[in-house]
């Protein structure tokens, strides 16, 4: 019998659960993660199974959550810190960038923490419940950043992040939580390697390099373009943002010669800029058109649906941009 379909959120939950079962040094800390089971119910039932000592409800103190995780990690623990919404990670920015990220390089300290939390828009969350904070941390050597888009990778990456010897920022898009469903094999250890992109769709005319929720919007666009324009669009899901999988990006560029980078984060200083530069450095001669970006507009994310829809990249934008680039 085929295993049941599970949601992105359930896959993440399973991954956390399995790691808690596997390794006693793994523990969770965050706001409302215990009895309540987390604002999005990612840790539902964990306190009951593993006890409140390993599923710690904390005060509203992100700097303390991350800092305490770091200290515990130095001592051999494997803490998983939850930000109730990733928007609040800014409160721990100092701790993450100054302390956690530099600890190994500066002082030879092992800090294998995972900081995870719901990110992203398309949910009418307004300016403080919709953010994509990757760019701020992407610029911080010493942190790793993963950003799954499938249920399998939600599970595979949380497990790999917990086992990784370095601090990992695990970004989970709340728009995917219950929208994405997948059958995961029962009894199989799902581990997604950190640093490897995933070819979400093969194509030959144009590559879309993306991650997070826009993977799905890009796939939708690719289907449409195939149907209406007979265009064969490749979609590369980065999965890990730091370190970037340069090889996978270049492979795709060398194959299709045209690249559209799509991300939900705002344009200026976003990851697309860095990816563009790397393609330019490593595969310039394979380009048959300019590297183009489809991103959010450079404004804080507004609340009204009409405004949010305008600001964020939509499937239709990807279709139009890809079409333009294909005709270049």
């Amino acid at each position: 019998m085929a295993p049941p379909e599970i949601t992105f959120l359930e896959a993440l939950r399973q991954g956390l659960w399995e790691e808690m079962e596997r390794d006693e040094s793994v523990f969770i800390l965050g706001e409302d993660v215990g009895l309540y089971g987390g604002a999005f119910k990612v840790t539902d039932g964990f306190a009951k199974r593993f006890g409140e000592a390993r599923v710690i409800d904390t005060p509203i103190s992100e700097a303390a959550i991350v800092g305490a995780a770091a200290g515990a990690a130095h001592m051999g623990m494997r803490p998983v810190a939850e930000m109730q919404f990733i928007d609040f990670i800014s409160c721990a920015y100092d701790m993450l960038t100054n302390y956690v990220a530099t600890a190994r390089y500066r002082a030879g300290l092992s800090t294998p923490i995972v900081v995870r939390g719901p990110c992203g828009g398309y949910v009418r969350g307004g300016p403080f419940h919709s953010q994509n904070p990757e760019a701020a941390f992407f610029h911080t050597p010493g942190l790793k950043i993963v950003y799954p888009s499938t249920a399998r990778d939600a599970k595979g990456l949380i497990k790999s992040s917990i086992r990784d010897p370095d601090p990992v920022l695990y970004l989970e898009h709340k728009w995917l939580y219950r929208r994405i469903k997948e059958q995961l094999p029962e009894g199989e250890e799902v581990l997604t390697p950190i640093g490897e992109a995933r070819l979400a769709r093969e194509g030959k005319d144009l590559s879309i390099v993306t991650y997070g929720a826009t993977v799905w919007k890009s796939l939708e666009a690719a289907q449409l373009l195939e149907k209406e324009d007979q265009l064969s669009v490749e979609v590369l899901d980065l999965r890990t943002l730091l370190p970037l999988d340069d090889a996978a990006i270049m492979r795709s560029v060398q194959k299709t010669n045209k690249v559209l980078i799509v991300h939900e984060d705002t344009r200026t200083g976003g990851l697309a800029g860095e990816i563009t530069a790397r393609i330019n450095e490593q595969a310039f001669e394979f380009l048959d058109g300019p590297i183009m970006r489809v991103t959010a507009h450079d404004v804080p994310l507004p609340y009204a649906p009409t405004l949010e829809d305008f600001v964020l990249p939509q499937t239709e934008d990807i279709v139009k941009a890809a079409r333009w680039l294909a005709n270049y």
Binding site: S61, R124, P127, F310
Partner: protein, 356 residues
């Protein structure tokens, strides 16, 4: 297991003075108007939320209206007087300071005509002339900001006061502590209302801090602090009045802890399964701020039942009219998202793919 005790005792209701807290009859009825308006308006918002007119989350202040209204009412109001910064559950404070129900409705429904033109939600909006400055979701951030407002009053020698609310959970943030200490050192004309409402989302006080009263935290920074029954409108009014006058005289910061109770979930989607059985019902039955206020007014002969039903009727009409006025208004045009990131340039770039 959650160790939250069942119904926690509230301070005893003292013997009322002849004119309670120095309030006139008109003022007392005015306060009742705001209490009832807050509650009625929120009930309308719940209806609109369920009709999918209210987008995003909805956060109720049921059970906390007393301290919101009383603290704001104790300030000097009008053009360029005192300024307060309301939290999500201080709808009553906003109304007292002069925000209109229609503005609140538009904010929640993200209308083009809303004070933030659809960019922000709920009570996150400002009118510095009327005297309110919306908070952001990052708790504690407004403590230092309000310190800056109060610092300006001090520098300009204006007899004005800044008031800022913080929840029991919010007192765990770094910004709260930095702001409190800053204000204390600068002896700023500022009042901090610490709202002990027993729940920070699902987290009870004993998981949030190890002191008994929030007032102890303020005392640690050398700030005078009192703890009052937050559901006693008169007591909260008096305490705030005292703190405001003191601040106006240049005596510095004051911290008022109001013990109250959040009877609804963190937001409408929160089922409150973490709350001990019966606790909410007991607070509703025994310690509702509006019921207590009405009882006091009637005890003291400050209001006849008819006075109050007249006000209730007036409010119903007012809220209906406000709803009718805006419910069918349009949402903002998408492109109106671009202006105002800066003064100059006046608008963000419309990205290339939108011109294809």
């Amino acid at each position: 297991m959650n160790a939250v005790p069942a119904t926690r005792p509230t301070p005893a209701i003292g013997t009322a003075p002849a004119t309670a807290a120095g309030l006139s009859r008109d003022q007392a009825l005015d306060i009742y108007y705001y209490l009832r308006l807050t509650r009625t308006l929120e009930e309308r918002l719940v209806a609109l939320y369920r009709q999918t007119k209210v987008i995003g989350g909805l956060y109720r202040s049921l059970g906390q209206e007393g301290e919101s209204v009383a603290t704001a009412y104790a300030l000097e109001r009008g053009r360029n007087k005192d300024i307060l910064s309301p939290l999500i559950r201080n709808l009553g404070s906003l109304l007292v300071m002069g925000a209109k129900p229609v503005e609140i409705l538009r904010q929640y429904m993200a209308k083009a005509n809303s004070p933030t033109r659809g960019r922000e939600q709920n009570v996150h909006f400002n009118d510095l002339e009327k005297g309110y400055l919306g908070q952001i979701s990052h708790l504690g951030d407004m403590i230092p900001v309000m310190a800056g407002i109060a610092l300006t009053f001090k520098l300009r020698r204006e007899p004005r006061v800044g008031l800022v609310y913080i929840g029991d959970g919010g007192t765990s943030t770094g910004s709260f502590h930095e702001g409190l200490n800053f204000a204390a050192v600068q002896r700023l004309p500022m009042i901090i209302i610490g709202e002990y409402n027993h729940w920070a989302y699902s987290t009870p006080p004993e998981k949030q801090f190890a002191v008994k009263d929030l007032a102890e935290k303020a005392k640690g920074y050398g700030i005078p602090a009192v703890t009052v029954d937050g559901n006693d409108v008169f007591a909260v009014y008096e305490a705030t009045k005292f703190a405001a006058e003191r601040a106006r005289r240049g005596k510095g910061v004051h911290f008022i802890e109001v013990k109250t109770y959040r009877r609804k979930g963190h937001a409408e989607h929160d089922d409150q399964h973490y709350v001990p059985a019966g606790e909410i019902d007991r607070w509703a039955a025994e310690n509702d701020p509006v019921d207590r206020y009405v009882a006091r007014l009637q005890e003291q002969g400050m209001a006849a039942p008819d006075d109050l039903t007249d006000i209730d009727d007036r409010i119903r009409v007012e809220v209906d009219q406000a709803t009718d006025a805006c419910v069918d208004e349009p949402l903002p045009e998408g492109e109106s998202a671009l202006p105002d990131v800066y003064v100059d340039p006046p608008a963000a770039d419309k990205l290339w793919f939108r011109t294809l």
